[in-house]
Each structure stands twice: as structure tokens, then as C-alpha cells.
């Protein structure tokens, strides 16, 4: 009872802070300095139509490398935590049904194709490596659901993951050698705004991020679905 009272007191305090923040908030009428720089310079400097992509991949590219690393670490820890313990004994399960199996055969390639489309076009349309990677991982999820006993080759997933990571860093180092700095996209010609092959290395980098993120999510899903029922 006293615990619940303290929780309420805490919530009221946080709610008070939030209320002052909300009352004191006035929306900006103009873009602030940072946003102004990005709005004015992105098209001319980087040639990317989607400014959010330009920020994520190039302006703050090092942070994205860190983010992908954090995601990799959490996928690795999930695998490590769940892999320990008993040996897995495959147990006969009820078949999943004709509808799901046939539907998966039709849909899984289409879903993966959509994921690839989303991350290849990340510099032109909404979407990019993270969204596309999640869509690819949901294709893998469908395969997992249709055949729970299928052993996903962890070797393949981790090979895709590490190759994408190595190429990502290699492109970043190339930017250091050939252009202005680490992960600079101007190692390739910028092209015209709005073309598929434009914005220098951004489509390449975002595709690598997409593959890496997709492999990480897929390995998370595979290790969680590979656990034993307790």
C-alpha cells in the first residue's frame, strides 16, 4: 500500500514537470540554426532529396554507425542469453497448415523485395535502411512461422551481417581518403536530385545498413523463436 502511494507521489511530481513544460512551450515560427543549415545545404552539398536520410547517413553518419553497433550488441546478447542451458531436443509439432505454407511461398519473396525497394530508395522517398531492414526481417519471420523447425543457418545471417558491417566501415574510410571526411558520400558523383543513382554513396551505405539491420532483427527473431517451451 505504501509502495502504491509513493508511486502516485512520483507520478504527480513528473506530471507537474510535464505540465509546466507543456504550458511554457511555444512552437517555433522559423527553423532554428541547425535545421536551417540542413534545409539550405543538403540538396546542393549531398544531392539527397530526403533530408532525414541525409542527416542519418552522412551528417551524423558516425552516430548511425554507433547505433547499428548497439543493435548488433543487443542481438548478440539476446543470442548469448538464450543459447545457454540445455540442449535443444526437436519435438514433433502439429503441421502449420496448407494455407500458411502456400501463402508464405508466395508472399515471402514479395515482402523481401519490398524491403529492398524501401532501402534502395531511401534517399528519394520516406524509408531507408532501418525500415527496409525491418521489412526484410518480417519476411524471415513469415518463413519462421510457416516452418518452426527450419533451422535458419546462423552462419548465413552472421556472414551477411558482418560483411555489411565491414563494407560500411570501408566506405567510411574511403570517404576519409577520397573526400572530406569519414562517411562522406561524395566519393561517387552526386548526380541530379531525384535520380535513383544520385546522392553519391548514400544509397550504397543505406543498403548496407538495411542488410545489416535486417540480419540483426532476423537473428533476434530466430533466437527467440528457437527457445524451448517451458
Amino acid at each position: 500500500m505504501i509502495k502504491r502511494f509513493i508511486a502516485f507521489l512520483l507520478l504527480i511530481a513528473i506530471g507537474g514537470i510535464f505540465a509546466t513544460l507543456l504550458i511554457g512551450y511555444t512552437p517555433d515560427a522559423e527553423l532554428n540554426l541547425t535545421a536551417r543549415y540542413y534545409a539550405e545545404r543538403t540538396a546542393a552539398d549531398l544531392g539527397s532529396a530526403n533530408i532525414v536520410t541525409a542527416i542519418v547517413v552522412t551528417y551524423r553518419g558516425l552516430d548511425t554507425l554507433g547505433e547499428v553497433t548497439v543493435l548488433f550488441l543487443s542481438a548478440a546478447i539476446v543470442g548469448l542469453v538464450l543459447a545457454g542451458g540445455r540442449q535443444r531436443t526437436p519435438r514433433p509439432r502439429a503441421p502449420v497448415g496448407e494455407l500458411l505454407t502456400t501463402g508464405t511461398r508466395l508472399l515471402a519473396p514479395l515482402i523481401m523485395l519490398l524491403g529492398v525497394y524501401v532501402f534502395v530508395n531511401g534517399h528519394l522517398t520516406p524509408g531507408g535502411g532501418f525500415q527496409g531492414g525491418a521489412i526484410v526481417a518480417s519476411g524471415v519471420l513469415l518463413l519462421l512461422l510457416a516452418d518452426p523447425l527450419r533451422h535458419f543457418s546462423h552462419g548465413l545471417i552472421s556472414a551477411i551481417e558482418s560483411l555489411a558491417g565491414v563494407f560500411y566501415v570501408a566506405i567510411g574510410l574511403l570517404g576519409l581518403l577520397l573526400a572530406g571526411g569519414f562517411l562522406d558520400n561524395r566519393i561517387l558523383p552526386i548526380g541530379t536530385l531525384g535520380d535513383l543513382f544520385s546522392a553519391g554513396a548514400i544509397p550504397l551505405i543505406y543498403s548496407l545498413i538495411g542488410l545489416k539491420v535486417g540480419a540483426e532483427f532476423a537473428s533476434m527473431l530466430a533466437s527467440l523463436s528457437g527457445t524451448e517451451e517451458l
Binding site: R4, A7, L10, L11, I14, G15, F18, A19, L21, L22, Y25, P27, D28, A29, L31, N32, T34, A35, R36, Y38, A39, E40, T42, A43, A44, A49, N50, I51, V52, I55, V56, R60, D63, T64, E67, V70, L71, S74, A75, I77, V78, V81, L82, G85, T125, P126, F130, L193, G194, V213, F217, M220, S223, L224, T227, L230
Partner: protein
């Protein structure tokens, strides 16, 4: 509109904290955390919103020349993009540990885990 969305975000954070503090089931606590996570994201996106402007994507309607007067702040969006992806990583980690805890004690009641209690 930004105020409305921001108020909802703050309320979602409060609801999430309330759920995490008062529920005793570990899975329910993780659900509550993911709701608070969504609330934080809504608040950050609402900060970047400006009335009457469009998304920060240049195309035939928003040319590079008039982008300054036509688009909203792209920085909070890039931030939230990162936050969502990291959020699912953290959730997966919490779920893996919840599974491990259930394996040890055959229960998800937080009150049964007394080893670190004082």
C-alpha cells in the same frame, strides 16, 4: 495540433510509468515500458512540427530553393528514427531476460525474486 500531440505523448509516458510501477508481472512491466517509449517519441516529433509546413523531403512540390520556408525541422525526426530502433533492441533484451528469469523460478511475479531485496 502540436500541443495536442505533445499532451498525448506526456500522458502516454505517465500511463507507462504508472503501469511499470504498479504491475507485478514482468511481461506487463515490459509492455508498460514500450508504451512510455512511444510517448517519448511522440513528444520529440511534436517539438519539431510547425503548422502549415510539409515533410523534409524535396520533390516537385517542395523545390530545393524554397525548402527553407516550406519544410519542418528534420533533426527531431532523425533522432526519433534512432530512438525507435534502439527501443526495439532494448525490448528484445528485456524479453530475453524475462524468459531466463521464468526458466529459473517458473514465475513472472516480480515479488518472488527476492535475492537482491533488502
Amino acid at each position: 495540433m502540436a500541443h495536442l500531440a505533445m499532451a498525448t505523448g506526456f500522458l502516454l509516458i505517465l500511463v507507462g510509468f504508472y503501469g511499470a510501477l504498479t504491475n507485478r508481472n514482468i511481461l506487463r512491466m515490459i509492455v508498460a515500458f514500450s508504451i512510455a517509449d512511444t510517448g517519448v517519441n511522440i513528444v520529440i516529433v511534436a517539438v519539431g512540427y510547425m503548422r502549415g509546413r510539409s515533410a523534409p523531403i524535396l520533390d516537385s512540390t517542395v523545390s530545393a530553393a524554397d525548402a527553407l520556408a516550406r519544410i519542418i525541422d528534420p533533426v527531431p525526426q532523425a533522432l526519433v528514427l534512432t530512438a525507435i530502433v534502439i527501443g526495439v533492441g532494448v525490448t528484445a533484451l528485456m524479453l530475453a531476460y524475462a524468459y531466463k528469469l521464468y526458466e529459473k523460478k517458473r514465475s513472472l511475479d516480480i515479488a518472488k525474486f527476492t535475492e537482491l531485496k533488502w
